[in-house]
Symmetry: C2
Subunit: 256 residues, 2 copies
């Protein structure tokens, strides 16, 4: 069996999820904690590679002993989150744990993932959302919000999202299926929620930048299909900053 961890983290202090030399990463910190907890070298496999500054409310990662590719422990599964609590910094928490089979893969077995992008839409800067939301001071009217929602709806379905992938990525299959894409006002924020079977590099952040172009009238909702069809990064909007982005849900097949 492998251990599947559900993790929440504030990404501000980390150079993303994946281990890098000479930079603190979520994977690095998790590996260190797991090795202290289990007393052996561990491999941690995450559900995605989040960027520097991106947050997660429910990131998933497996832990297995490096030597054997499996894991055994006398710690009861319900005690695992608290056992990790004493070993992790305050900006990372294990919120749940479950056993999965040795053949389970945290990244390849994902059925769909849900991201949220938070835009703080207040005239003055809010100290409590620095590093946690993108501050966009120009007021987003109800009409603009409606246009953003119409544009977001165009993302739903199976499309080639090449226009919404950061240039320089070496991914060749750029077709993804978006199952949900909605815009909602939440207090003083505007939240873009999107679920898909997979995401290209910077896809949610480029979608968000494009939705802001729609809010500003630089693009209309009717333009989105042709932006998709163009398969051209320059046709979509700017890449919104990382600190408004949250990985919120990762769904695996029921029988894992």
């Amino acid at each position: 069996m492998k251990l599947l961890l559900h993790i929440a983290f504030l990404g501000t202090a980390y150079s993303g999820y994946q281990v890098q030399k000479n930079a603190p990463t979520v994977q690095g910190v998790l590996t260190e904690a797991a090795e202290r907890l289990f007393g052996v070298r561990c491999d941690i496999v995450g559900c995605s590679r989040t960027d520097s500054g991106v947050h997660a409310r429910d990131f998933c990662a497996t832990v297995a002993y490096r030597e054997t590719g499996t894991l055994t422990t006398t710690v009861p599964i319900e005690r695992i989150p608290l056992a990790f609590a004493t070993l992790l910094p305050r900006d990372i928490a294990v919120t749940g744990a479950e056993w999965v089979s040795d053949s389970f893969h945290a990244r390849y077995d994902v059925v769909f993932k849900e991201y949220q992008y938070w835009i703080r839409n207040t005239r003055t800067h809010d100290p409590f959302s620095a590093d946690r939301e993108w501050w966009y001071p120009r007021p987003i009217s109800e009409q603009a919000l409606e246009r953003m929602a119409q544009a977001a709806a165009c993302f739903v379905g199976t499309h080639d999202f090449a226009s919404f992938m950061a240039s320089g990525s070496d991914v060749t299959d750029t077709v993804r299926t978006v199952t949900e894409a909605e815009i909602k006002r939440c207090g003083d924020s505007v939240v873009f929620r999107v679920a898909a079977d997979g995401f290209l590099y910077n896809m949610v952040r480029i979608m968000t930048g494009t939705l802001i172009d729609v809010a500003e009238g630089k693009l209309s909702p009717e333009d989105i299909p042709s932006v998709l069809a163009a398969r051209d990064r320059t046709r979509a909007g700017a890449t919104a900053p990382p600190h408004g982005l949250y990985l919120c849900r990762v769904v695996y097949p029921k029988d894992i």
Copy 2:
């Protein structure tokens, strides 16, 4: 005229409000920003002395030129918040500004203030509320919440709050009038909201610690009147940590 600023700040990085030698304070940062904006030495008077780590959603402070005790500027009042925005760090923001008379005093003229104390009541630690809420992992049941609310209600009225003042304070008049004191669940948090014409040193944090004693059954709501009557700090609960506390509202007389 003096300038009355409404300020929000995340207190984490500051050694409280009031200027200290060799420690960053909110007053220190505000003074520096005001002096850069107006080009002369300024005096900043705040509505209260918040402790290290305490936050504010609506702190009030006046700005006057040190030399004259008054302030004149060509910057229109509605532009003041944005003018400060470029001069302040991300954890402090001026959210509003208004003109008040030269005789106005930000501290002495307060009619009442409202604080909130946020308790994060989840089994596992939440990275997003570190430094922003007191993490209290033992579940607070509906019955315990009801007892806390009953105890909080005993604070309402004009009482001698000497039992709820940190020892070492040199304040002699310890009578205050609490106009509201309520406990509410808000998502995964329990929030204590209290308004009064004035607060003694650490009063809200000691009230919160006492309410937790009530939740745990160490005290009953019926004990609160005798804890008040005792005028003895040792009869109340522990001082809850600073990082769950927010100054949320400061009310002045209408005609200022």
